[in-house]
Structures are given as structure tokens and as C-alpha cells.
């Protein structure tokens, strides 16, 4: 009986982790950039674990996902099989990971938009930038407009 209970508890735990635990973020950033950590802090607050990789060149990571250069920002995150470039809001990443679209390889908030997460002052609304989706061939589409 005890063993059965243990088995049930264990499987319930495993189940809840697989459903509720958020994936780990592999974050590639330059050691000299001071703003990426603000974005990472927001993601940690939302329950993600963030693994930071300090590198000067991680273009090979971006290449795997087909992101065109013109979408470049200062940091690149790999989350559960998708790539996220720059200061993309957590809500868009949550939607990406729930819907898991097969026709895009990642999202980007190009450049360093003034009113984006990690850039905007705390509690200020995100505005005046677009989150762009891209696929492995470099084709772009609008994911969300702020």
C-alpha cells in the first residue's frame, strides 16, 4: 500500500512538473552588454531558469534557426526548441510555447526598443515596437504589435 502511495505521489509530482515547470532558457550574450540581464531578470521572475553563456560571437546559434541579420539585438535565447532574439515580452514567449507553431523557428524584437521589457521603466506599458516571427528560410511575419 505504501509503495502504491509512493508511486502515485511520484507520478503526480512528475506530471505536475512536466505541466507547470517552465523550460530553461539558454541565454547567449556578450560580457559587455549591461541591458540583457534586465530582460533575464524579468524571465526569472516569471519562473524560468536562465543559464547565461557569455560569448563574443554566437552567430552559429542564430544560423541554426535562420534568423536574418536585420533582426539582430544584443542577446539570443534558446527556449524549448525555439530561438528568441532581444527584448521579447514573456507573454509572447508563453504563447509561442503553448501554441508551438511548426512554421516558425523563433521570435525577435529587433534592436533595442525603448519601451520593451528590460528597457522600459518598471510598470510602464510596452509600446512602439513589433515582435517579428521568422522561419528557417528567413521569412518574416508580424507576431505581435505593441
Amino acid at each position: 500500500m505504501k509503495t502504491l502511495l509512493k508511486a502515485i505521489t511520484l507520478s503526480a509530482l512528475t506530471f505536475s512538473f512536466s505541466v507547470f515547470a517552465k523550460p530553461t532558457i539558454e541565454l547567449y550574450k556578450s560580457p559587455t552588454c549591461g541591458c540583457c540581464k534586465e530582460w533575464a531578470a524579468i524571465m526569472e521572475e516569471k519562473g524560468y531558469e536562465v543559464n547565461v553563456h557569455h560569448q563574443n560571437d554566437w552567430s552559429s546559434v542564430k544560423k541554426q534557426f535562420g534568423m536574418p541579420n536585420q533582426l539582430m539585438s544584443c542577446h539570443t535565447a534558446v527556449i524549448d526548441g525555439y530561438m528568441v532574439e532581444g527584448h521579447v515580452p514573456e507573454s509572447d514567449i508563453a504563447r509561442l510555447l503553448t501554441e508551438r507553431p511548426a512554421n516558425i523557428s523563433g521570435l525577435a524584437a529587433p534592436g533595442m526598443p525603448q519601451h520593451s521589457p528590460g528597457m522600459a521603466a518598471p510598470n510602464q506599458p510596452y509600446k512602439d515596437f513589433n515582435v517579428i516571427a521568422f522561419d528557417k528560410s528567413g521569412k518574416l511575419s508580424l507576431y505581435k504589435k505593441y
Binding site: 552588454c33 536574418p68 544584443c74 526598443p113 525603448q114
Partner: protein
């Protein structure tokens, strides 16, 4: 072993860059390259492809001087980490590039889905730079006979390009679908 290798590579690299700097500093072209690559992401990440700001947090820094650069690297929290990676001659080259851009009249044009129409007035006979941003999700082909001898200028989705030209008196109108810009050259 690896750290020794890294050290040797580092020393060699510094020697190469020292030699290069000694030969060319201060140099607009070197400054431009550095503007696109500093720190791995380039000054472009925060200040736009042509230092024009382009809606990014760092804003327009065309015309900034060596003093301005030194001051920002020392005091701006987001830039302080970069300070140790930029030598004096790096900073001089960056300043040369920014000061050169400061001498050029900036004209910005964004091609987008929504209808836009604006007019800018610039001076004749002094160098101007059109910085055009294709905010559409399709490639754009522009014909700009008053600005360039190139037959067409191609822009990929979300790509920004700059075209330098010396304007003559008159009115230049740029149109692409619903995006319109009138340049009044006085």
C-alpha cells in the same frame, strides 16, 4: 594549457590591433566597422544602423565627439562594461565616424503598411544621407533617380540602407505604396 593558448592568442591579437590602429587612427572607415561590431553586437544595437537612433533606446548620436564617447562609457550604466574593451584609438575612430555623420544632413524614411506622408526641408549642395527602413514583410525595390545612379535600391524585409547624395534645389518626392516623403531642397 587552454589558458596559455588563449593568452598567446590574446597577445597576438592585441599586437595585430595595435599595429592596425597605429597605421590608421583616427579613421572614419575603421570607426564605422567598430560601430557595427563593438562588444559583439555593435553600437548599432542601441543607436541604429547609421547612428540615427531609429526608435532604439540609445537615440541619435550623429555628431557626438570623443569627449561625449568617453563620458558615456564612464557614466552610462548600460555602457560601462564596454569601456574596458575600447582603447583610446578605438574611441578616436568611433568619434571620427560620428563626427563625419554629424556633417551630413540626415533624412529618414520608413516604408510601412499604414499610410504616412511627411515633408522635410534640407539645404542644397551639402551632402545628405537618406536612411530608409523597410518595415514591410516583403522585399522592396526603389527607384531613386534623383539620389543615386543605381537603377534600383533593394531592401529586404526589415532592412535599413543609407544613400548619400548631394541634393540640388528643387523638390524630391519618394513614394512606395502608401508611404510618402517629400524632400524640399532649398
Amino acid at each position: 594549457m587552454n589558458s596559455v593558448k588563449n593568452l598567446i592568442v590574446g597577445v597576438l591579437f592585441s599586437l595585430v590591433s595595435l599595429t592596425a590602429q597605429a597605421e590608421t587612427s583616427p579613421n572614419v572607415e575603421t570607426g564605422m566597422q567598430l560601430f557595427r561590431t563593438a562588444g559583439g553586437y555593435g553600437c548599432v544595437a542601441c543607436h541604429g544602423q547609421f547612428a540615427n537612433g531609429a526608435g532604439n533606446v540609445g537615440g541619435n548620436i550623429r555628431g557626438k565627439t570623443l569627449n561625449d564617447i568617453d563620458d558615456s562609457l564612464a557614466n552610462e550604466p548600460t555602457m560601462q562594461l564596454l569601456a574596458s574593451t575600447l582603447s583610446n584609438s578605438d574611441r578616436e575612430n568611433l568619434a571620427a565616424y560620428l563626427e563625419a555623420l554629424g556633417q551630413i544632413t540626415l533624412v529618414e524614411w520608413t516604408i510601412e503598411e499604414t499610410a504616412t506622408s511627411s515633408t522635410v526641408t534640407i539645404e542644397a549642395d551639402s551632402t545628405a544621407q537618406l536612411v530608409v527602413f523597410n518595415k514591410l514583410f516583403e522585399p522592396v525595390e526603389l527607384s531613386l533617380p534623383q539620389l543615386t545612379s543605381e537603377k534600383t535600391v533593394q531592401l529586404n524585409p526589415y532592412e535599413t540602407k543609407a544613400i548619400d547624395w548631394t541634393p540640388s534645389k528643387g523638390v524630391i518626392t519618394l513614394n512606395y505604396n502608401q508611404s510618402h516623403l517629400t524632400i524640399d531642397v532649398k
